[in-house]
Symmetry: T
Subunit: 146 residues, 12 copies
């Protein structure tokens, strides 16, 4: 079972900015931890980050053959990219939408998501734990579909 | 560590209606499974269900002394009850908002939640797994606050 | 054939307040007249009234086994209760939404109903005759489904 | 007592198109059945159908002297014709607004009606039974006004 | 100088319905009075009324050659007919929009007019005097354009 | 019969700015012409202009005893002054709202008027003729009230 | 003169939670103080609190015979309960709507009240003094109606 | 293969008004050219124009038996006629919605179309070429359905 | 303790117009009564009325040194004057917003207030008693701040 | 005559995904067919596809010198990219907006296009034929401009 | 070259209130500094402040002959005064709209400006530097127009 | 002091397109002029332009260490890019939002900016002078922060 973790714009700075909010873990730390959890669950996890909408679309298209589930923290693209939505729908790969912070208690424009209604599930607000909860969630989901 | 699980209106029928959507597990089955997980995590889980908004408010008020975290699937009250919102805020107990289905891909009026912006996190759409993911999430959260 | 008539909040005062608008018939008078009509149509009619949203939800849940059709004048809950909506949908019992007055010529907030799009039919504005018309309507409907 | 039944655009095709939805009865069948019911109730029923808004306005104006009640299924004109609304108000004849289907569970633009707030009552969603229920309703109404 | 007066739906009933609001003058009385005023001003006035939107469009199209100004009380069509708007614009004949009552103190849907922004002027609320004021207005307007 | 003409802000510049739009007549020219018409109609016309909302309110209050009708071109205050609206209503003097240009074909914020629904009539778009038409209109109106 | 004070959901916790905002007085303290004031004013004050919408509706219905005025701090129900609105209107008892905090400087959804337009007066934002001001207000009101 | 071309209100004036915008071709010129193209494509084209909404509805109803495809430039009715929409849906004949000008760069009210979501395709803005493109489009469409 | 009472436009006419609504007391009567109450409470009350927004702003600015609390019935300026809002905020003097009538049961535009969210409290609908209740309220408030 | 065909994000997958909807033709097949048609019409067609908004902007900028017309199926960027809109306007090259599916019968957010009001024409809903119809349309357009 | 600086309501208090936000400079200090800059740029600067909308309108009207450019910080009037807008447009004097604070990060009602779309430029948020930047801006602008 | 100037999509074409609007200066000309001004002010200016949202985000992230202030003309991205907003906020570098034209007098969708509420200041509408005014503004701002 291959799972792809996609992180959108500005998430490459995790752990280096505003540590009082986001903690000291860098994106690489998080990815490493998730890989360990994945291994325990006998799952393969691939990690990808980009600030470029087009690169995320390309990546999703390339995943059609090998990936069974996607975890996506699309960051700002959550609220603006129909293109990523279309790529995800077109790929027919089940995906989980995740957010570190609770997007519903921030600016109004963060309440609209182009991904939500097509996601198998949404996890928002658990800090960095949102990543591991999402991983548990997609694995659970894929098991019921086997 | 004491955690309270609150299920709102109509969730007492889980497992007896529309099994093709909600599966065959009854609410009691789910509660039992969650209690086991809680035990493993050395946590105490109390379960409560009501179709009456007022009873849920009463329950939250009574929990102020003994409960450290709340998991709430408020069902229809999610979208209509400011009273439960106020009780939760007043109690100052951290809570997770959870939904079995993806509320963002249903009727428009289910997209507005009176709980979301005050929840520590939201989990929606993972079927019955939303319950266990929420439990993991609140435990994780409470550990970081110790 | 068993039919359930549900009257929501404040309808227990029918006939005792504002007789110039609602006439002198009490709710019991109305219920008695409807029972007679039901009998003529070889139908059994059960009557229920409550000012408590939770009790109406409980009642609908209890009706799942024995009731084939519901007549509901949900009063104020028409416009605020997703919980009753969910109970009605969950019960899979066909129902008629009825109103004594024409809800479309009153305050704006009475124009939104959480029941309407799921009702088999709506009857509004015929005064107390709305009750008997609804009874005829549901019987007619149930006959075509036999 | 003279009652006028008005059917608006496209209702002349009843029974010839989409029989799985609208049944096999033609508009003439329906009109004949209603005339029988009217007769039993010692009422005279006149029937009129037009695809032309102007003709319906003309008809209402001509009815001022002889007609005591109107049943109107204005079809698409329900949502667009202020002209028919004005004719009905101007005529001072009480009228019932009726719809075969439940207009509240169709396209959004069918939820606005230019007739509703001036109708004595609304009946929607009972299939062809909406016609007979309307007839009962207007007769009941006219009796209380005598 | 030829001027055309167009009256829309239900205005043929002027003077016969609701005399306490609209007075006892029939449409013919009004038309006759206006013709007199027109004559004094050395203007020719033609009068036309229809309950049919299509007939009003036809009439406007036929007026292109002979008519220099139009007075239109489009009644209910004011708020619904883009077709009459297009005919008036297409004809390139200057027109005055007039209303007997003050349309801004009635139902909300009467506040939107499809004619207003293309009219040379609007007169509303002066009772039957709206007709003569409109006639004075268009004559004044046409004089300044000579 | 005493009539008061009120002109609001910036109308004191009439005839001195943008003559291609507003013509060469100054406000004083217009006032003089209107006085002549008033005299012919055996009416007394008083004229008042101010750029200050408060002064217009003061003026209306002072008019309560002596004035039977008001013509008001409130200019920009039409769209912003509830205070003038209240003064007019409080005075119980019938008034005509007038505009030189067609306010419905200009910026959106000019479409809302705080005076319209309380005016006996509205005249808009006839250029400087709007003044004389308004005078005719109010005189006609006051005659019918005698 | 009998007056009823109704406190809605979560107000039973006054004085025990967030004392820095709401002070140290419990609901019972407040009720006792008000009773003293009432006594001085030769008025009888009855006090009632519930977290259950249905119980508040029941209470209002029961008050129809004996109560001449109601003070209601409906808490969260202010913004969601049409049922309480209907009970108050149906009871024909004059009532004052009161709030401890200024509801207009809180969340947007607290700005809509289903009670406001039917209240004889509104008092909001004076802290616990809102209660005594309301009592003075209703007594004053009832005196003028005697 | 029989195709019907419907032109709505005011399109009968094509070629006679505003030639700088619409060119010098009359509606008859256009219809003739389209008939030639149809012939080449071994298709029969029938042409119909009316300023009357009701006549267009009648025409569509009469076409049910013989017509396989409809090209409709409904003009102003595009934005106001639910009646034509219902006739087209009821007829089950596939249709193309066409416009000479780009309706999306004109007045706001021209952006709403009651036909668009039911059309097989939309062509807007190509001047008179919109007609021939629509004809090619419907023929192409009907071929794929054979 | 010095308190300033500000009355906005048209309130100078109190007692002289519409006595059936506002009673026979003039503004001076009310001011005198309030001064008496103030004296009893050992408070100094200054009274000010103006129909001019600018004068009210000037007055508030001049009060910064000597005034500890403001009672303001801004009348129509409540809904339109950001300038008065800014003056009040800038002055840092606590103020009570008061209205004689219940502004929430009047025209829609009276529901928006530019003062409300900055007032320490709002009192609306108690007739002339709104003035004395406001005075009690501000004195109570200032006492708790001492 | 040089024409540029631009395809936006996810359109590179045409023919490989969801063949039941989009058919078996790949984007290259379509491009080849269009090139043939172009050749017959003595036109040169260049084809370009990208998932990257920036690359499409770059491409449009580079086309300013050599391209006389653009066909653009901007896919998801239709609804989100003001940047492509600005590039097209800046280039002053006439363009046709095309869509394979009928964007007006899909999700609401697909109804807003940032290109539509600046396109010379729009073609939507004809399946893959939308491409050839667009090509015919732009050639026809360019001929009339020669 | 004569330039006029207009400051609206409450700006006369600059430097005396809330120095932590607005600094210690009074309006006179600012005006003096600007005059120096103007002098260096060989420009004459006149300064004007008023809390009265009408006085600002009067001032703009009087400036028509002598002033070539206006700098206006209209304060609260920015959002409410169509009257000042009309005076500025009528004067045909180019003007810069300036704000000390960033009006886009304050209350929602401060985001609407009646001046913005007619200003040659807007400067907002630079603290007191907004004044000097505006002066540079208007001088630069007037130079390009010479 | 290092300042970064960012120009968004299509601004690389400045001076080559529509010279009547934007003048003949190319982006390089502008950048050179700004560098000179910067030098005089003893500031270092770096210039960057891209049509790619992702590249602008990358650039901002890279600037965190060395840059003290940013001038950004984000062009079309102003209205669509939450990603650039997040990068700017995350960088904690103060920035000025600038526009050549007055964005408030163009299309409605240009009135919403995702940058405005976080900018230290906004400058819009001064043509190419917007660049130099922004530079003066940020330098002034940075000086006050030293």
């Amino acid at each position: 079972m291959n799972i792809l973790l996609i992180n959108g714009p500005n998430l490459n700075l995790l752990g280096t900015r505003e540590p009082e909010i986001y903690g000291n873990k860098t994106l690489i730390d998080i990815e490493n931890e998730l890989c360990k959890i994945a291994k325990e669950k006998k799952t393969n996890l691939e990690c990808f980050q980009s600030n470029h909408e087009g690169e995320i679309v390309d990546k999703i298209q390339e995943s059609i053959k090998d990936i069974q589930g996607i975890l996506i923290n699309a960051g700002a693209f959550t609220h603006t990219s129909i293109s990523i939505r279309d790529a995800l729908i077109g790929s027919e790969i089940p995906f989980v939408e995740l957010h570190i912070s609770n997007i519903f208690s921030r600016e109004d424009f963060r309440k609209k998501s182009f991904l939500t209604d097509k996601a198998i599930g949404i996890i928002s607000g658990f800090g960095l734990s949102s990543y591991s909860l999402s991983l548990y969630g997609i694995i659970e989901y894929l098991k019921t579909k086997e």
